[in-house]
């Protein structure tokens, strides 16, 4: 025995011998294995579990499922593992579970914030929009922080999540969502045909409402027992995947459904490899929706007192968990189903003080049975108010059209206004709901996807009809998905329960007295009065009412409140319900953790980190790396005691004095092969290519059709039909896409193919006067003389015994080479070159020195000195445009009037008057620093560095009419004063270019 005060001996489906200890707000309790936190608390007589969002009212457990608006707690495993807003009705108990209540201070039973309840006239509907509008500045500094502190739910954890989450794409023929009688019947019918079936249910146990329907009998068994046997059978089938604790949270296009499986939240000590949650992204040929229905509460004064709950939930706690929610319960209903709860409790030995039924003269077997058991039944009466604060103590009853009041002492009230079909997923699938005026329910109307609704979510009443419908639908779904044979037998319903409709909207106890709090939406503290007020203040659309009152906008998305809210608004507007309309259901059905959505994409898997073959060497040298797209590139190589500035200065000087080695492997590389390779190059680049001799290279510029520079790079012609094209590091994928696009769709007649070889070749740039001396001893089969291998040429041969494509080219202005070797040899060849380099005093240099060295020569970097609005002419690269060419991508765009107009921004050099001052990249340039603000900006700095080789700062800038301004003085206004600059040409070092052969 668990020893808990409200556990009924012999009731429930779990062994009461298997105790699980847990704590709530530091108090220790005993539950049993199989309990939810909610059932275990109720077993101990605990109803008060939280404080409400806005008014801090004491709240209890309303439901026994995912629709729970009140019983939100924080579950804490350790300092990093604390989860706020966990529904106690869903959280399974494990031995040692620690739970805390939320949104209260200093304690749950005495909460200072409850003053909001008294001051509630201030917080009526739309109060955010009205109360805090003046003074404007106070919103940010005062009102918003205060409101956020006072209103709210749980506190998010402040440490990194130590758990891991997994994800899986899955495909099936039939996906069945919901594992009650309907879902199980549909899954059986589909599975028996042999097609691939996935059956998912949010509960730990399958069975849905069979958990509480004590009157159900299927195939000769108790309904719940049948469900377990059927699911065991399904689990054993190879073609079926059964997913308990799995919520379908989103229904997307083409039967793509997102599900979250709670893998280990119910375990005392989850194993290290066990994910906390698993995200399933399922593509199904057919979907069967069997999501059931959710019971509605009655809307009357103080209907939120702890101890007041849904009748079906009370029945679940009794029949499934063996827990009586009270010892002396009252029942308030507008439909039959609450009678069944009263009957079950009465039979279990609980006193049922009275059933109050709003209906005038209902008849039926449950009513007769209740009477036969000696329960007092009152028709045509309403509960107009509940007594008690931290726990309900009484209900006050009055004839519904007025008259004498009578107060009945109770310790719990079970209520039922009827059942709302769960059309959430159907609605997410873009299906259109239809209102059934007779049953006052929205049910699936027009389908938008290959799915079908069965059972209670389809408005089908009664177990027998449900199983018939679901089994047929499951079989049809399988057939539609391609099943050939079926060999099963339909489950036979021997006994079932059935009940009638109920009511929507506010019951008589909900006012019109405006001081009354009759809650429609418990989680967001929305009352019947708030909805009426919204209409009164001019809201006409239900969408406006929703936003004005926040009805249905809490984390439970109004699972219990939407229909009541709608009915009250409709009544106020004097319109039928379907004309007022239902708000749209959106994913997620219940909150989904970021962990599940992010899944594997954290830490090293957040985004690929690309490293070159030479990376390990640079790392061992203590290089500092910078991110360039997904690549890690060596930024600079500091020696002991050097800061970045010192390291870069040393690297830059070494390159020009002796030589430097640079890892250029990240450059995009594309092999263009085929008899029409040169023709294709002519069309994709501004330059002429037909006459470029094999073995020679050319700097190429690629434009978009609009005439602006898109990319650049050196291209080597290896053979008449083979080019080795290089692109910028960041541009590699898009350049490849751009080239493929033109090749496939504009020039498909050309016989040429493109292959990315970026990662085939590691590239080692060796630059500087000693570069040839370093390389030559290692090279076989290539004449390294200037005559045989002039600047801008390429040869294939061997280096260190491995194949190489050796480019003689320079991005520094020095004699230079780029050694391409197959990537796996990259590091070894680098090490061999490095050893040679050491004999000459060569340095390794990083991307920062590379940037400085190229800027000293006025070589542009596409994407830094250009921004997608720069033409070749703007960049001073007219020489690279083939004047005789009749077509290339961008030829027409380049000739647009604006692109040839005078006064365009042109790339020029800038020298600060004070050579020590280094401009800021991005800084704006003006002609007259004394002009009124806003000043006319005529350009901006694109590149700016300290150049140790020049002994001064250097900069490149885009300046309107820049080339005509060479020699002029311009100004760069900065926060600390105006910087005077002289406009110069773009080359700061070795203007004649003699060092290329130096």
């Amino acid at each position: 025995m668990s020893g808990a005060s409200h556990r009924i001996s012999g009731a429930g489906r779990f062994s009461q011998a298997k105790t699980a200890r847990f704590s709530f707000d530091g108090q220790s309790y005993a539950g049993i294995e199989g309990d939810t936190l909610a059932s275990a608390l109720l077993a101990n007589g605990v109803h008060l579990v939280g404080r409400s969002f806005k008014y801090h009212r004491p709240r209890g457990i309303l439901s026994a499922g995912a629709e729970e608006p009140n019983a939100l707690v924080e579950i804490r495993r350790d300092a990093a593992r604390k989860t706020p807003n966990v529904r106690a009705t869903v959280q399974e108990l494990y031995d040692g579970l620690e739970a805390q209540s939320q949104n209260r201070w200093p304690s749950l039973s005495f909460d200072v914030g409850a003053v909001n309840d008294i001051a509630s006239p201030m917080f009526s509907a739309g109060f955010y929009y009205k109360t805090f509008m003046w003074p404007k500045a106070a919103w940010k500094s005062l009102y918003e922080p205060k409101i956020r502190a006072a209103a709210g739910l749980g506190v998010s954890p402040d440490q990194p999540d130590p758990d891991h989450y997994s994800s899986r794409y899955a495909h099936c023929d039939v996906l069945v969502l919901g594992g009650g009688a309907a879902g199980i019947a549909a899954a059986l019918a589909a599975a028996e045909t042999g097609v691939r079936v996935i059956l998912a249910d949010e509960q730990a146990e399958f069975g849905g409402s069979l958990r509480f329907e004590s009157g159900a009998k299927i195939d000769g068994q108790d309904g719940f027992a049948w469900a377990q046997a059927a699911v065991a059978k399904l689990t054993a089938m190879d073609n079926v995947r059964v997913l308990p604790r799995t919520t379908a949270f989103g229904y997307y296009a083409q039967n793509f459904v997102g599900l979250v499986e709670r893998v280990s939240d119910h375990l005392k000590a989850p194993g290290h490899d066990l994910a906390r949650e698993r995200l399933w992204q399922v593509r199904a040929k057919r979907v069967v929706l069997a999501s059931g229905a959710i019971e509605r509460h009655m809307v009357f004064a103080d209907n939120d007192r702890p101890g007041i709950m849904l009748a079906g939930a009370a029945r679940t706690y009794l029949n499934h968990y063996g827990v009586a929610v009270g010892r002396n319960v009252g029942v308030y209903t507008a439909n039959d189903s609450a009678y069944a709860a009263a009957i079950d409790l009465k039979k279990a030995g609980v006193n049922v003080a009275a059933i109050v039924d709003l209906r005038d003269n209902p008849t039926g077997p449950v009513i007769d049975e209740a009477r036969a058991l000696g329960i007092e039944v009152n028709f045509g009466r309403a509960v107009i108010r509940a007594g008690g604060k931290l726990r309900v103590s009484s209900m006050t009853v009055q004839p519904k059209n007025g008259g004498g009041e009578r107060t009945i002492p109770v310790d719990a009230i079970l209520m039922s206004a009827g059942w709302t079909p769960s059309v959430h997923l159907f609605s997410q699938s873009r299906g259109k709901v239809a209102f059934n005026d007779e049953t006052k329910r929205f049910v699936p109307g027009t389908y938008a996807q290959d799915c079908v609704s069965v059972g209670a979510c389809n408005g089908t009443d009664g177990l027998s009809a449900t199983v018939d419908e679901a089994y047929a639908a499951g079989a049809k779904a399988a057939r539609d998905a391609g099943a050939k044979t079926a060999k099963g037998t339909k489950p036979k319903v021997d006994a079932s329960e059935s009940w009638s409709r109920g009511m929507l909207g506010a019951a008589p106890g909900a006012g019109p007295d405006t001081t009354v709090k009759a809650f429609v939406d418990f989680q967001n503290d929305v009352t019947a009065k708030d909805i009426r007020q919204a209409v009164h203040e001019g809201m006409r659309s239900i969408e406006h009412v929703k936003r004005f009152t926040t009805n249905g906008m809490a984390t439970d998305q109004g699972k219990t409140s939407n229909m009541h809210g709608l009915a009250i608004a409709a009544e106020m507007l004097g319109k039928p319900i379907p004309e007022v309309g239902l708000t749209t259901f959106r994913a997620p059905y219940t909150p989904v953790t970021f962990g599940a959505i992010v899944s594997h994409a954290r830490g090293p898997l957040f985004d690929p980190t690309r490293k070159t073959a030479i990376h390990p060497w640079a790392e061992a040298q203590g290089a500092v790396f910078e991110d360039v797209g997904q690549w890690k590139r060596a930024w600079y190589f500091p020696k002991a005691g050097e800061d970045m500035h010192a390291a870069v200065d040393r690297e830059c000087v070494a390159v020009r004095k002796t030589a430097g080695l640079f890892d250029a492997s990240t450059l995009g590389k594309i092999e263009v092969v085929g008899p029409d390779a040169a023709k294709f190059m002519e069309l994709l680049y501004t330059n002429p290519w037909e006459k470029l001799e094999p073995g020679r290279c050319r700097y190429g510029i690629m434009l978009r059709e609009d005439g602006f520079i898109y990319d650049d790079g050196v291209v080597g012609r290896l053979a008449p039909d083979r080019f080795h094209v290089t692109t910028t590091t960041g541009g590699a994928p898009r350049v490849m896409n751009h080239m493929e696009d033109y090749l496939q769709t504009e020039f498909p007649h050309l016989n040429v193919w493109l292959t990315s070889i970026t990662e085939q070749w590691a590239v080692i740039a060796v630059q500087g006067p000693k570069s040839r001396d370093i390389i030559a001893p290692l090279v076989e089969g290539i004449d390294m003389s200037d005559e045989a291998l002039p600047h801008m040429s390429v040869r294939e041969g061997k280096i260190c015994g491995v194949p190489t494509r050796l480019f003689r080219m320079s991005f520094t202005g020095e004699r230079g080479f780029e050694v391409n070797v197959p990537a796996d040899y990259g590091q070894a060849v680098w090490e061999a070159l490095w050893a040679e380099g050491q004999k000459h005093g060569a340095a390794a240099y990083g991307t920062e020195a590379m940037h400085v060295l190229r800027a000293e020569k006025g070589y542009i970097i596409v994407g830094q000195d250009t921004d997608g609005t720069v033409t070749p002419n703007d960049a001073g690269l007219d020489w690279a445009v083939g004047k005789k060419k009749t077509d290339f991508v961008g030829i027409r765009g380049m000739a647009r009037p604006d692109l040839v107009a005078k006064g365009r921004k042109q790339l020029v050099g800038l020298k600060t008057k004070d050579p020590k001052v280094v401009l800021e990249e991005g800084a704006q340039i003006v002609e007259d620093p004394k002009q009124a603000i806003p000043m006319k900006m005529i350009g901006h700095v694109t590149s700016s560095y300290w150049s140790e080789n020049c002994g001064r700062s250097i900069a490149l800038a885009l300046v309107a009419g820049g080339r005509d301004r060479i020699g002029e003085t311009l100004y760069v206004p900065m926060p600390n004063g105006v910087i005077e600059v002289e406009v110069t040409g773009m080359v700061f070092f070795d203007e004649t270019g003699g060092r290329l052969n130096g």
């Binding site: 794409y169 997307y252 296009a253 083409q254 793509f256 992204q281 593509r283 059709e705 609009d706 896409n737 493929e740 696009d741 496939q744 769709t745 504009e746 498909p748 009749t886 077509d887 030829i891 027409r892 765009g893 000739a895 647009r896 009037p897």
Partner: protein, 98 residues
């Protein structure tokens, strides 16, 4: 995530493998350099942006890498059909009225 039928792979494949490439059937002039400003404007800048049926180019980027054409309904976000690059605009669309 949508399923898109690749006319080269001859099956529906997940959207993650694809990339949209803008409106289809906008021909690049054989005499590009001789285009008038107005014609270039129409070619380069003007797109139909319809509500309803749109003809688009897609690339099976992470599949067969082919560009192809697709007919999609911008209202329902449904693909009506796909066809190979270079094939003419279909005169009849399956399942579309009018």
């Amino acid at each position: 995530m949508l399923l898109i039928r690749c006319p080269y792979c001859e099956e529906e494949r997940p959207e993650l493998e694809f990339r949209n490439a803008g409106e289809a059937h906008i021909a690049r002039s054989a005499n590009m350099a001789g285009e008038s400003d107005d014609d270039f404007e129409k070619f380069f800048f003007i797109r139909s942006n319809p509500k309803g049926i749109i003809y688009e180019r897609w690339r099976h980027m992470h599949g067969c890498a082919r560009f192809f054409n697709a007919v999609r309904d911008t209202v329902t976000d449904r693909f009506v059909m796909t066809y190979k690059a270079g094939e003419p605009k279909p005169s009849k669309l399956p399942g579309v009225g009018k």
